[in-house]
Amino acid sequence: MYKFPKKKMLGQDAIPTTSLADMMFLLLIFFIMTTTLTRVTGIVSDMPAGTKAQQPQSEKTPMISLHDNKITMNDKDMTREEMERTLKGMRLDQKSGNAKVVILATEGDVSYQDYYQTMAFIQTCGGIVAIESEDEGGAK
């Protein structure tokens, strides 16, 4: 026959919680050491997707081309400083719609550092970067 435990016996099987604080502090130290609270820095670029349309010469979208260690803007060779000055002078932040678009093309061996720097500068000037890449169907 089952015997119910006496009232005074009940307290003896309680879960020991004395070491809980130690465990909690160990976990706390772990999370403090591994957490990175810094936010990422970068650029948000809503690049237009689609195919390049034929435009009259007067309305041509400005195009920056990076190839090896050279920079060409609208078929003119220039240094990075000259390119930045020209972009600033275009006042892209005051334009709207397609007038804000700057095509960024690459040829030869270009590192992501050079590409990123140019992309970030176009964004800073208020422009929208469009990438031009060659595929089976032509430029995108």
Partner: protein, 138 residues
């Protein structure tokens, strides 16, 4: 005869200490992001004029060997990135939900990063290109 009063040492209450520790642990668990999901060895590109951003839910990474990962898993190439991104963004309607973070090593060649960049755009993503702030020139 005057007797000196007996002084007892004050006791610091420590019973609530566990509750505070648990709250702090919950805070750190909620705020943590582990480095393991960010791909292999990477030296981020530097540029000026970068802004602080919230981390998007979709992450594409290219390490210094040119290995591409999507959400921490290796993928074969740009075509896999395009289909993967388009699947992940299927039900996303707002611009912010379409953000795709691109972490790419600064030394990677255009033959590797350009198809990936193009794949993200074609997959319907808005590129969030991560970099480090360069020191401002005087």
């Amino acid at each position: 005869m005057n007797r000196m009063p007996r002084h007892e040492l004050p006791v610091v209450p420590t019973a609530n200490l566990v509750d505070i520790a648990i709250l702090l642990i919950i805070f750190y668990m909620a705020c943590s992001n582990f480095i393991s999901q960010q791909g292999g060895t990477m030296k981020l590109p530097k540029a000026s004029g970068l802004e602080k951003l919230n981390e998007p839910l979709v992450l594409v990474a290219i390490d210094n060997q040119g290995a591409i990962t999507l959400q921490g898993r290796p993928v074969g190439g740009a075509a896999d990135v395009e289909s993967g991104v388009s699947d992940l963004l299927k039900d996303k309607t707002t611009d912010e939900m379409r953000h795709v973070m691109l972490r790419c090593d600064a030394t990677v060649s255009r033959r590797v990063f350009e198809p990936v960049l193009n794949a993200i755009v074609q997959g319907g993503g808005i590129v969030v290109a991560v970099g480090e702030k360069a020191a401002e020139q005087p």
